[in-house]
Symmetry: C2
Subunit: 353 residues, 2 copies
């Protein structure tokens, strides 16, 4: 397996051959529900898929609630770059703990060993770099759109992920699943409608171009991560995560040096950290791992559904926790998203028949 | 055929037996696309179905545009009850013209003759009476809800029609068609969202009860009309319409006497009629006939889709005609309704497979 993978990667990054190779694997997994070599059988794999999806949904929804909570508690008085670095470090450590447990029970194999080849890791920084470019663009887009309009435009991510998933991973969605995906995007946008949302219709062409480029970057980063993680199905996910997060740590270290070097030097690395900061770091770390797991055992489409449902869960829970007001638009959007989730699963069954 | 129908109607109104009998007819028409004896074959019937649906959509959308136009031109200065009576009279006349053409070409048969039995016509006033009760309730509901909230609540009609169609006509919708129907209701409501729509969430319990009762009355009247018209598939639709409209004339004559007797006596029947009033009467008459045709050759579900799409068409055309503003909510609602229409047709194909 290792030999074939190395041979496939002779061209730069993930080659077309890799994708075709991956495609064969994924196609065979489509017909037999799953052929993941790490899971016992189709039932185990389906269970694993459900567990990681549920975990991602719950972690993402509690993530937004923690952000609201921390905002209510006062302004952020810690450095965001050190918090991001802490998240990456924690994810790295958790992957190592998981790996050491596996080494104890199964011994070190080619699939779970930490040592890797340059060919395996050289594509790992690409998603992080794509996200970096997207985050830089985020500063400029606010010259053309306001915050509520940006919130609405972010839903273009759903469409871009679906289209890139189809093009890059060459996985087919049934017609009903495509309809469901359009509904997911329309439903999420409806749920976020506010009296000032109509501003988005006055977005100048530059704003639209930037929003579409950002959606494509974000969608491509997501789909590319799936390509990287699924390329070698037998490779242990914790070993893959370890290397992904090592690059995450590196990128965030650079960010600390560029943005917060003086503050960290004068006040210390953990200045301003509170109990809730620690909770947020823990939550972000676990969410990040859940995203990787969903990429390994499910796919980007499931990830988009999971985070969309999480958005609705957050708003619903916020009604009880913070006395938020549920609008009619939110109720209608939630209805459309629920029907979309149902249609996605019905559409899947159709595909199998 | 005539004999069986008379025998079936021994109980009051349309008996359970009638419905079961009708159900058999409609079930057999389901499997062979259609077995309408008035249409040549499945292809003809499908074409007829498309034509009447398209006619209803276009007539309904131009109806709303005429209303906006007449409002722009000034206040209504004619009596609404005389206009309604004129609509019913015109429909009656048009049915007679159509019948006389058929008599000339095919001769008078049992199916197209005007003379009818008491058993055939005694159920004809029921839909008109149900609409009357609904219209009376309309005056009282405004004590509990405002106009934008009422506009939103009216979409409950979509759900009530679907449920009553299932229960009374015993026709099955596929799971995807049900999902599509929920989306149709959510999409139409979303398209009508305005900053004041959220008032609907503060509707008191009395308002909700009245809105639900009104939706059920309206849904029942629609489904019952379908039962009446389809009960005898070979009976000519123009003869059926003639009797329906005779009762419409009678009810509206009573309304003129109760509401506008003095005004009509003093100013005359056609006082205040303008060119646009005549156009509106013509449009209402043709729309009414199109509704009957859709009931005969299609069904209530198609009618609901047709009028919903008409609502969206009206708003879109109004942008060009009257410089109306299209909101983001309208665009999102239209997207959801479009997907719903697509899913309804896909769901139908599934059912046939």
């Amino acid at each position: 397996m290792e030999h074939r993978r190395v041979k496939d990667q002779e061209s730069d990054g993930v080659s077309q051959k890799d994708i075709e190779n991956f495609d064969k694997i994924s196609l065979s997994s489509n017909t037999s529900t799953s052929s993941l070599s790490t899971a016992g059988g189709p039932k185990d794999s389906s269970k694993l898929k459900s567990i990681v999806t549920l975990a991602l949904t719950l972690l993402t929804s509690s993530q937004a609630i923690l952000i609201v909570w921390s905002k209510r508690a006062g302004k952020y008085d810690y450095s965001v770059t050190t918090a991001n670095f802490s998240v990456e470090t924690l994810k790295c450590l958790l992957s190592l703990v998981a790996l050491s447990r596996i080494w104890n029970s199964q011994g070190v194999t080619e699939d779970n060993r930490l040592i890797t080849s340059f060919d395996e890791v050289r594509v790992y920084p690409i998603p992080a770099m794509l996200y970096l470019v997207k985050n830089l663009l985020q500063y400029y887009i606010f010259e053309y759109v306001d915050a509520p309009a940006y919130q609405i435009l972010k839903n273009l991510n759903i469409i871009s992920t679906g289209v890139l998933y189809r093009i890059i991973l060459k996985k087919k969605l049934s017609q009903i699943q495509w309809a469901a995906f359009i509904l997911l995007c329309a439903g999420c946008t409806t749920a976020q409608l506010s009296p000032s949302s109509d501003h988005v219709l006055q977005t100048p062409i530059q704003g639209w171009v930037m929003a579409i480029v950002m959606a494509l970057l974000s969608g491509f980063a997501g789909v590319y991560t799936e390509v990287i993680i699924k390329k070698n199905p037998s490779r242990n996910i914790n070993a893959q995560n370890f290397w992904l997060y090592i690059f995450g740590m590196l990128f965030n270290l650079v960010a600390i040096c560029v943005q917060d070097f003086d503050a960290v030097m004068n006040k210390g690395f953990f200045h301003g950290y509170s109990f809730i900061t620690v909770l947020m770091i823990l939550n972000h770390a676990l969410s990040g791992i859940a995203v990787s797991m969903v990429m390994k055992y499910a796919n980007n489409i499931i990830k988009v559904y999971s985070t969309s449902v999480a958005m609705l869960l957050t708003a619903t829970v916020s009604v009880f926790l913070f006395g938020f007001h549920l609008s009619l638009a939110f109720l209608l959007g939630s209805t459309v998203v629920s029907v979309s989730v149902y249609l996605h699963s019905v559409g899947k069954l159709q595909q199998r028949n």
